[in-house]
């Protein structure tokens, strides 16, 4: 099979790019592993400054627009297992079926993955990432369990706590992850507490009122360490900022969690105690999945932790590999509206690659770039403050990249 553009990933970035290519008459194939298109949009539901963001409706809208273009095809349940440079383009192979797709340009929109929080017995059935719980509950209407706990202060923790409690699932609260041994890479307790600053505006009004108070590390530490052990009511559950999950309990599946108090310096204090839960959600945060970009030979910005591995990319999603473009969370974790604008920008890159004209569609590029900036300014969540600095470094790396010829 041949196509002009192959888009890998049917999430917000991939679908947005497909719409732009579709309306400009480009033969486009969008593939995704999941049986339902929409990517992580499908589970999203949170309140932003401009009202409720209901990802499923955004996805439905994108798909409805995409459906108007007979030149755009969607192939689900399809994992790309190979991507080889061939005849000036790229040949993709897949895990689920024999046969290949030859594409002149490839857009990698493979999104992100969750980072783990290892703790004793975390391989027991019932311990899952917070994203898995969100997919289970929001996308498929499946109850993760009777009583759960959320471990880690990643941005998704609060959205999922809200969703689960509104669905009547009991939660033992949102607690700290362990921060020693194999979890030491998560940073210090202060790092965890600082993450709360990025989500405090999503909380109840009184929490928003507390924003100025926790703006200084001095007060943040004291407020968090001094919180009552039973927690601070938030989002239908409780935030327990001075309690850490130190181990899961259970034989064949999760039956409980061991908790222990943490002091201002992150040291475990007092005796651990057991609380009965039958599921646990680990909220460690997100990192890009840049494997395919790396495999094409595109220049990468590698990070020691692997949390910030991204292809070096240009203004319209170009990578240094010919005909390989990238958009969305694979370029950094910034949320769906940013991913959608990046998808639109990358469509310009793809169009220019196909036509060989590097200056066309300048007005559209300018409009999409503005949309990207607006999306960044309005982003309801900051997933990881490192990204703005990394993106600045990538802009420089792109400008200074060795050019061919």
């Amino acid at each position: 099979m041949r196509t002009e553009a192959l888009i890998i990933g049917a999430g917000p970035a991939g679908l947005s790019a497909a719409i732009e290519l579709g309306q400009r008459g480009i033969e486009t194939l969008v593939v995704d592993e999941y049986p339902v298109p929409g990517g992580r949009l499908l589970g999203q539901m949170y309140q932003s400054q401009s009202g409720w963001w209901i990802g499923r409706r955004v996805a439905e809208d994108l798909l409805e627009r995409l459906g108007r273009f007979p030149n755009v095809h969607l192939m689900l349940e399809t994992s790309v297992s190979g991507l080889a440079h061939a005849g000036g383009g790229w040949t993709a192979t897949f895990s689920q079926r024999a046969g290949t797709v030859d594409a002149q340009a490839v857009l990698i929109a493979t999104g992100a993955t969750e980072v783990p929080i290892p703790l004793p017995n975390w391989t027991l059935p019932g311990v899952m990432t917070v994203g898995a719980a969100q997919t289970m509950a929001n996308v498929h209407g499946v109850r993760p369990g009777e009583r759960g706990i959320i471990i880690g202060f990643g941005a998704l923790a609060f959205a999922v706590a809200d969703e689960l409690t509104r669905a009547g699932v009991d939660l033992a609260g949102i607690v700290l992850p362990p921060l020693q041994g194999p979890s030491q890479w998560l940073g210090t307790v202060q790092d965890q507490w600082r993450r709360l600053r990025d989500v405090v505006h999503l909380g109840p009004r009184w929490a928003r009122a507390a924003t100025p108070l926790v703006a200084s590390d001095f007060w943040l530490e004291r407020v968090m360490a001094g919180a009552p052990q039973k927690g601070i009511p938030a989002l239908g559950t409780v935030l327990r900022p001075n309690v850490a999950a130190i181990a899961m309990a259970g034989e064949e599946a999760v039956s409980g969690v061991w908790l222990q108090r943490v002091d201002r310096r992150g040291t475990l204090v007092g005796e651990p105690w057991h609380e009965a839960v039958d599921f646990a959600c680990l909220s460690g945060g997100l990192r890009p999945v840049p494997d395919l970009a790396a495999a094409t030979g595109a220049a990468m910005k590698s990070s020691r932790s692997g949390l910030h591995d991204v292809p070096i990319f240009g203004p319209v999603g170009e990578t240094t590999a010919p005909g390989i473009f990238a958009a969305g969370n694979v370029l950094g974790i910034e949320g769906a509206p940013v991913a959608m604008a990046q998808g639109q920008l990358a469509s310009i890159g793809v169009l220019r690659h196909l036509s060989g004209n590097p200056t066309e569609w300048a007005a559209e590029q300018a409009a999409f770039s503005r949309a990207l900036e607006v999306a960044r300014e309005r982003a309801p969540l900051v997933f990881d403050r490192a990204w703005s600095q990394i993106h600045e470094e990538i802009r420089q790396a792109w400008t200074n990249r060795p050019k061919e010829g």
Binding site: S81, R97, G99, P116, W122, W185, G256, A295, M300, S305
Partner: protein, 97 residues
């Protein structure tokens, strides 16, 4: 039902879920082999060599200490198949189906 207090042994915590590699295994390998890169650590522990190919455990492995801090010591290397594939599909790639 009375609950036993949990083991605080970080060493028993599985870090590479595919290969059931524990934090203690990693620390032991660090001491025995003094690896100078994540790749060398991988070759003596099998972290990242299982079916998920390190997608889950990579950040934990980065928390180990290896001497060499240059980018070459932790650069991501990806080889096909990028996702597992059955032999009969792999053997007939490129054929019309």
């Amino acid at each position: 039902m009375a609950k036993d207090a949990p083991s605080h042994e970080d060493d028993a915590v599985i870090v590479c879920r595919c290969e059931a590699l524990t934090w203690g295994d990693v620390k032991q390998a660090m001491e025995a082999f003094q690896p100078t890169s994540l790749r060398q650590l991988k070759s003596v522990t099998r972290w990242g060599m299982g079916i998920c190919q390190g997608r889950v455990c990579r950040p934990m492995m980065a928390a180990t200490t290896v001497e060499d801090q240059t980018e070459a010591a932790f650069r991501l290397v990806v080889r096909p198949p990028f996702k597992p594939v059955a032999m009969n599909i792999l053997g007939h790639e490129g054929e019309k189906v």
